[in-house]
């Protein structure tokens, strides 16, 4: 049978401005699905913009091309293949009025199969 593992790489993590999720090794997997939930948000935060990133070494990152837009109070997912050895999400918290102190509490789950 195939291997399967879901890692909760970022659990209820409060983020502001630009952030990156916990880098995760994915070399064994053929497919990956990122699930992103916004659990809480500050008054002016409207959500997060996320870009899937991959890496050859877990240190230097490239945009993979897939993006996600997650509104406050909602959840989204993105399906991925052919991503090499490391994955993470690079994100930006978006606010209605451009305030830099807008925050959200985000949970990120990475489901891997291969």
């Amino acid at each position: 049978m195939k291997q399967f593992y879901t890692a909760v790489t970022d659990l209820r993590r409060r983020v502001t401005a630009d952030f990156a999720t916990f880098p995760y090794e994915t070399g064994w997997a053929d497919e990956a699905t990122y699930f992103v939930t916004i659990e809480e948000s500050s008054q002016h935060a409207v959500g997060v913009q996320l870009a899937v990133q991959l890496s050859a070494d877990g240190i230097r990152w490239h945009d993979e091309g897939t993006t996600m837009s997650v509104a406050s109070g909602s959840a989204e997912f993105a399906r991925l293949t052919h991503f090499g050895g490391f994955l993470r999400l690079a994100g930006t918290v978006e606010s209605a009025d451009g305030q830099q102190d807008a925050w959200v509490v985000v949970t990120v789950r990475l489901a891997l199969k291969g």
């Binding site: 890692a7 970022d10 659990l11 995760y24 090794e25 070399g27 050895g85």
Partner: protein
């Protein structure tokens, strides 16, 4: 099937006569996962909030791939279990910072008539090669303990290799010992779910030399484990801890090619029992960073074995 055929690398391990688990991470996670709190409060909140229990670095299957060396692989095959921290640490005397540790747990239970339990692993560690130089002092510590509960006590025998504290080299092993801390002292001044002695990897006063309210140093010279000469070379080293489940004491520790003797009275704190975990046998590995760098502990194969009273009698009569 004999014990030896269950083991991925028989020459690396000296298990007791009965194998409880022989986990080769080329065959998946084998039930090892992140150590997380109990999500039993309102809104699935964690039961305990003395520190951030939700941001420890997630454990993963690793190929040990580095920027310049490429893929290191494991001692046998490609994959090992990697415990990786985030890049933030608290000072030596403070409670652990958010994400400063990574912990891997496997949840088992006590087998019939078990008298001794042994946990062995092949381990390697390194610092993320995110800057030039040698990261040999970036890791504060790594270690291994077993969360146990019998009919009378919950207790956690364990060992911790203290590598560096606030940048100062230590390179010595310590073991979890009895604490006289009150519940409030144990839980950083808060009432706390944790009885004194429970979860010494997080709780109890921290001291500037790397000791804690529930740790004692082994006597003898320092031990410099193999870090190698650059952050992208790792060496697989054997680590083995054996405990006496009847006396609730330590039997032996070996790390690399060195054996350690426990003082006669060495024992972990014997805490009261908790509900719903009688017979618990949960081995846990952990790693801690000392500063602003990510550090990783790699495990290639973990073997958990035990002996029974019958085995002990048979051994004595030989």
């Amino acid at each position: 099937m004999t014990s030896a055929t269950l083991l991925p690398l028989p020459g690396q391990f000296s298990p007791l006569s009965r194998i409880l688990a022989a986990d080769d991470f080329d065959r998946g996670m084998n039930g090892w996962m992140d150590l997380r709190p109990n999500f039993v409060d309102e809104g699935f909140a964690a039961h305990s909030r003395e520190l951030d229990f939700e941001s420890w670095g997630s454990v993963m299957l690793s190929s040990a791939t580095f920027p310049f060396a490429g893929t290191h692989g494991s001692a046998s095959g490609t994959y090992s279990l990697r415990l990786a921290t985030r890049s933030e640490a608290a000072g030596a005397t403070e409670r652990p910072a958010s994400g400063s540790m990574s912990l891997a747990i496997k949840r088992l239970s006590r087998p019939l008539r078990a008298t001794r339990l042994k946990v062995e692993a092949l381990v390697a560690y390194t610092t993320e090669q995110d800057r030039p130089g040698l990261g040999v002092d970036a890791m504060r510590a790594f270690g291994l303990f077993v969360d146990l509960q019998d009919g009378d006590h919950r207790y956690m025998p364990g060992v911790r290799y203290v590598n560096a504290v606030d940048g100062v080299r230590v390179r010595r092993w310590q073991y979890y010992t009895e604490t006289t801390a009150s519940a409030s002292e144990w839980n950083y001044g808060e009432p706390g779910w944790h009885q004194p002695g429970v979860d010494p990897q997080w709780f109890g006063e921290r001291h500037a030399d790397g000791s804690t309210a529930a740790t004692a140093w082994f006597e003898g010279p320092q031990q410099q484990l193999i870090y190698n000469e650059t952050d992208d070379k790792i060496n697989w080293m054997p680590l083995a801890l054996e405990v006496d489940l009847v006396a609730r004491t330590y039997t032996s520790l070996s790390a690399g090619d060195r054996e350690y003797s426990f003082p006669q009275k060495a024992r972990p704190t014997l805490a009261p029992t908790y509900d719903n975990i009688g017979g618990l046998v949960n081995p846990v590995f952990f790693v801690e960073t000392d500063g602003d760098r990510r550090v990783s502990l790699y495990l290639d194969s973990v073997v958990v074995s035990y002996a029974t009273a019958d085995d002990d009698r048979a051994g004595a009569s030989r």
